[in-house]
Amino acid sequence: MAILVLDMLTTSLILFVVAAGLMIILGVMKLINFAHGAFLTVGGYTAMLTTDAGVSPWLSGPLALIFGFFGGLLIERFIVRPLYDRPLDAILATWGLGIVIGQLITLGFGREVQFAASPLEGTLTLGAIDYSAYRLAVSGIALAIGAGLTALLYLTRFGLNARAVIMNETLARGLGIDSARVRAFTFGLGAGLACAAGALITPLLSVDPNMGLPWLVNSFMLVLVSGVSIPSLLLASLLLGSAQVLVSTFVSPILGGMTIVVLAAAILRINPRGLSFG
């Protein structure tokens, strides 16, 4: 029972951290970043290179964040910016970008399954039960990232500008906010978060050129259901992630894999505003 609760919590928090970068971009730029899966993969390879170079595996997350941020700035400038007026085309262009990144990784690293060292091995004893130590660590980091993002959005100048753009871009521009800059920074931040999330989950998994793809659809569903706010993304992750674990445990893991998609579609059909607050 305790294991089940921990499974639900950790699965949800992992989903949360994986979807966070996607949500930031959707909120400010009103575009679904289909390259999100590829960014996760890039994060995985960053973690692998980091640990291969003998650097502490704890640093792979921050390094991936930085790498993703600058990569994101470049992508925003050359691929996303020309498509601001065509949001559906932006989806397709980012999907094409995902293909290109995947193929470049395949050409560079091969399709072999590779590994990044885990900063924490083995299990942690919590009262009567043992639980994977790194899963617990990732959950803690996910919460910290959530808190950090909230602070960024509510306590900084960038956050104020970003929230203004989220609410009403025309008005924000009228108030002298450089919305192009906010967008560029946001895309960088979203890409960086996606890479960091990829680096974080890699020690639980393995590294291969398609590792990000299975996460893509669930992330889409979570951000569509949650709308643009960190607490509601956390809520959506907790609800749908727990549902996934419950279905996997008590019904079948195969149906569990479809739980989030089906539930999210149903929630949105009943209430188009999903689970967003206010």
Binding site: R86, P87, L88, R269
Partner: protein
Amino acid sequence: MSRRRPLRTALIGAFVALAVIAAGPFVLDTYTTNILIRAFFLAALAMTVDVLWGYTGILTFGQSAFFGIGAYACALTFTHYGFGPGWAIGALLAGMGTAMVVAALIGWLAFYHGASPLYASIITLALPIVFVQLIFAGGRFTGSSSGLSAFPTYYWAFETWFWIAGTYLVLVATVAWIFVKSDFGRLLVAIRENEDRCAYLGIPVSGVKITLMVAAGAIGAGAGFGYSAFTNVVAPELGGFLLGTELLIWTALGGRGTLLGPIFGAIGIDVTASYLTGALPFLWTLLVGIAFIVVIVFLPEGLAPIIGRRLRAAGQALNLVGAPHVSSYSVKAINPGSHASEDVEVPLRTEGLQRHYGSLKVLDGISLEARKAEILSIVGPNGAGKTTFMRCVSDGGERSGGKVFINGAEIGRFAPHRVAKLGVGRSFQNTNLFDTLTVGECLMLARFKTDGAQKFSRRESLDLPEPALAILRATELADAMTLETRNLSHGMKRGLELAMVLATEPSVLLLDEPTAGLTKAERTAIGDVLVKLANDHRLCIVLIEHDLDFVRDISSRIVVLHQGALLMQGTVEEVINSDLVKAVYAGEDAESVK
């Protein structure tokens, strides 16, 4: 400008294509014949993607699932149940039927009034993923990951299959071509360009999209059935997400919204990929990915228009092709249809109308009536809730509480097109119309509610009610029927919009700042028309205006909204001279009247 032009072009094209296909197997080697058969089936599928995405603006990742459904209907039937002509026809129908049911379900999920296009796309993305999971979970019955193969099928010669696949492609392409060139095709473009506006003209947008999805699903399933019967193989990837995205790539590269572009895109890329097998296994995908990004960013129309222009120029040089077909319409007046409303004296009534956003009350208990043959002006400072009021009256899903009656009928939770059917016509503050449609086509759209749209031909004449004609005459639009609306002046756009709303023969006319941005002369002309509409045609007109002089000149009565509440209503004199109104309004006057 013959009426049959699109039909004739299509039939000539189809005839030529069939001749090419008949000759194909005699000049091509077995290998090429073989890959073309598969490419033809995939091209038919890509064409459905173009109708959905290129024409109607529904970005779908899920067409592959319908292909998969058709393919598995064939494989499962022949493997487990039986084989023969009866079984084959039964399996084809079962496949198409299943695809249509699934498409309807997906349509119901994805297309409701107010659904974001992103949401619809993600739903179509989920479809092939769920489909593949189900196939995997089917174990031995569906063959799981390995698929099913070597089931009994018709081992006809490659030539025969080539003709079958080619004929199927030409047939569905011809039907689709005539369809997209018809009036209904223009309706699809209108939905792509301004879905909301269509809904308020009384066009059941969701219904059209769902129907289209269902038809595309059936065509896709037919193609999948043929593919599987020919190749004698099904595998989960035939209904998978990757094929779904490849279809988009082919469509984008070929040229969306051109129908033929995606067909040639699909065939071209599939055949090239076949020839490059082994030579560039990873590089090929990389190159396609790069080409895709480049086309999306820099060449959104794809390659077909470029080639098309070359061909047309060459054709014109040789005098083979006439000028592109432009619909011109002869316009004639009709007697206004008899609305059930004839004897309803109060076409619009609201009771305690409320609209909240969280704790913010934008409308707070508005109860009012608007009568026949009167012009009711709603005034009030910015943020008073005027536009929100219009929205709540014309869209049943908008209000938080209270009731709205149109011609005596409660609108309940009706979507805008159903409210429009009750007799509400609404114009908007902004003037985005349908950029690539002509004036005539816009008016044709506006008549959809009453006259429908020709699915396989184009109308040559338009029957418009007298009030709409009056506007056309007043704004010189009558001579501009073949002009695309993006080329109109602001005044003409306003006029066209009003004419479109009037063409729907509303009994309640909701006008949101109809004179904004117009010259004094234009304003006077519009005012005269409105007065005439109220007096001669006994229309109930509700108007939002900032221009108080204009309001004073034409209104029968005035309603004043302030901070979401009804401040007062009365005759023009009563309101204009009211101290209360002066106090409230004058304070904000400078800010609100621009």
